[in-house]
């Protein structure tokens, strides 16, 4: 239990720093940046009783990324939203196993994992770019940004998830 808390704190700090110092400056093809900090939300231990704490931490990580990248509150809003809908998406992606509260994302079959990642990341990016650009006349640019960045983020997340797995003792 204790090591779980420490692991999450370390993960929180590392992901924020990696996001603002490295991944915000990739500019692939000029505008595509991955948002890998949401791995914190995607991989947060699945337990029903500490829902409020999870929502708060999701808000906090989005808030810190906003603080560093001068984006107001768009990352915080998107993070809180996907944190809130996560149980629904988990149930949709993993079906009944989720009910037993025993799954770990890094041990799930690749197909279900990809579905889970794609749904969560698409929703996150849509809210993120929708709020950031915030105009109906630029709806095409919102969709374009969402699509391309999502592909990039999903790809990177699939690569990073095995790296973040705790070493088995």
């Amino acid at each position: 239990m204790n090591s779980d808390i420490i692991l999450n704190i370390v993960r929180f700090i590392l992901l924020v720093l990696a996001q603002v110092l490295v991944f915000n400056h990739i500019d692939f093809l000029g505008f595509i940046n991955p948002y890998i900090y949401i791995l914190f939300i995607l991989l947060y231990p699945i337990k029903k009783e500490n829902r409020a704490q999870f929502l708060f931490l999701a808000f906090l990580i989005g808030f810190f990324v906003d603080l560093f990248s001068d984006t107001g509150g768009v990352n915080a809003a998107a993070s809180v939203c996907i944190a809130y809908i996560r149980p629904v998406v988990l149930k949709f992606a993993f079906g009944n196993i989720y009910e037993y509260q025993i799954i770990k994302i890094s041990n799930t079959p690749i197909g279900q994992r990809v579905v889970y990642l794609i749904i969560m990341i698409l929703i996150h990016h849509l809210i993120l770019f929708g709020l950031e650009i915030f105009s109906f006349s630029n709806i095409l640019s919102i969709l374009k940004n969402t699509l391309f960045s999502s592909v990039f983020t999903v790809f990177l997340c699939l690569l990073i998830i095995p790296l973040l797995r705790k070493a088995k003792s």
Binding site: N33, L67, D70, G72, A76, Y84, E132
Partner: protein
């Protein structure tokens, strides 16, 4: 009553979610309006400190290129000094000889640059304790960069010209017709000059400079050249695409311009408005 309390307790997560969501939306919409993003900006000690220490390392990588830029600028300024008398119109400090400075200039280093969003902010390593205030103009040797937005004691954020909120007074160098410089968020080296009246007759390649209408930038700071333009029939105004002189993706040394007469001009304007 008990039912209501029970209802709140049952749905406490939902209400907590709503509270957090509305808090972040408040932050978002504050950042959508000019000069209201007081809480969330990177000019605080934490983010400023992190960016500063990272920049200490990364600034070594383009040291050579930046040195070259500074040498070129020195060259230009030396030329200006040696040829003074013929070319005094170009100098920023007009009355430097008789102790009546119109503009005070400070230097700063960019420690975080951003150009891939729709609202871009740049972080520089000077703040309140160096005399930086909101609404001062920021330029480089080549042209304008933006306007100071928020300041902390040691850092400031600059609202870049590549920001959909920015509106800068600019004019055609040849004909002195002035308009507003905006950014349509499409390309990071092209900004739009709008509200140029139909009599202006712009030509491709003409130079655009800052106008003297606002107290933020002095007149005659270069901005860019006209790339193309179209005439808006319904509004009777030209919309001009301006190619920036500045490469906004590679900024290191910038200058902050403080207009010493701002207060006087503001007072005068208020006086006129009251009458």
């Amino acid at each position: 009553m008990q039912n209501i309390i029970a209802f709140f307790i049952r749905n406490r997560n939902f209400f907590f979610f709503l509270a957090l969501l509305s808090l972040s939306l408040v932050f978002t919409f504050q950042s959508h309006s000019y000069h209201r993003s007081k809480f969330i900006n990177s000019a605080n000690w934490l983010t400023g400190g992190v960016y500063e220490s990272v920049n200490n390392i990364s600034s070594y990588f383009d040291l050579k290129e930046q040195n070259q830029k500074l040498v070129e600028e020195n060259l230009r300024l030396r030329n200006l000094i040696l040829n003074q008398g013929e070319n005094t119109v170009d100098s920023l400090i007009k009355d430097s000889t008789n102790n009546l400075l119109n503009y005070r200039i400070k230097s700063a280093t960019v420690i975080k640059n951003s150009y891939n969003k729709t609202k871009n902010y740049i972080l520089i390593n000077k703040g309140k304790k160096d005399g930086i205030k909101q609404d001062l103009g920021v330029i480089t040797t080549n042209g304008i960069v933006g306007i100071i937005d928020n300041t902390s004691s040691g850092h400031s954020t600059v609202q870049s010209v590549l920001n959909s909120l920015s509106e800068i007074n600019a004019q055609l160098k040849n004909t002195s017709h002035f308009g507003t410089l905006e950014w349509d968020t499409k390309k990071r080296n092209i900004v739009q000059l709008t509200d140029i009246p139909d009599l202006a007759n712009p030509q491709v390649g003409d130079t655009i400079i800052t106008g003297g209408m606002s107290t933020i930038f002095p007149k005659n700071i270069p901005i860019g050249t006209i790339m193309d333009f179209k005439f808006d029939d319904s509004e009777n105004y030209y919309i001009i695409n301006v190619k920036l002189f500045n490469d906004m993706t590679s900024l290191e040394h910038v200058y902050i311009i403080e207009n010493m007469n701002t207060d006087e001009i503001k007072q005068l304007e208020n006086l006129t408005n009251e009458q």
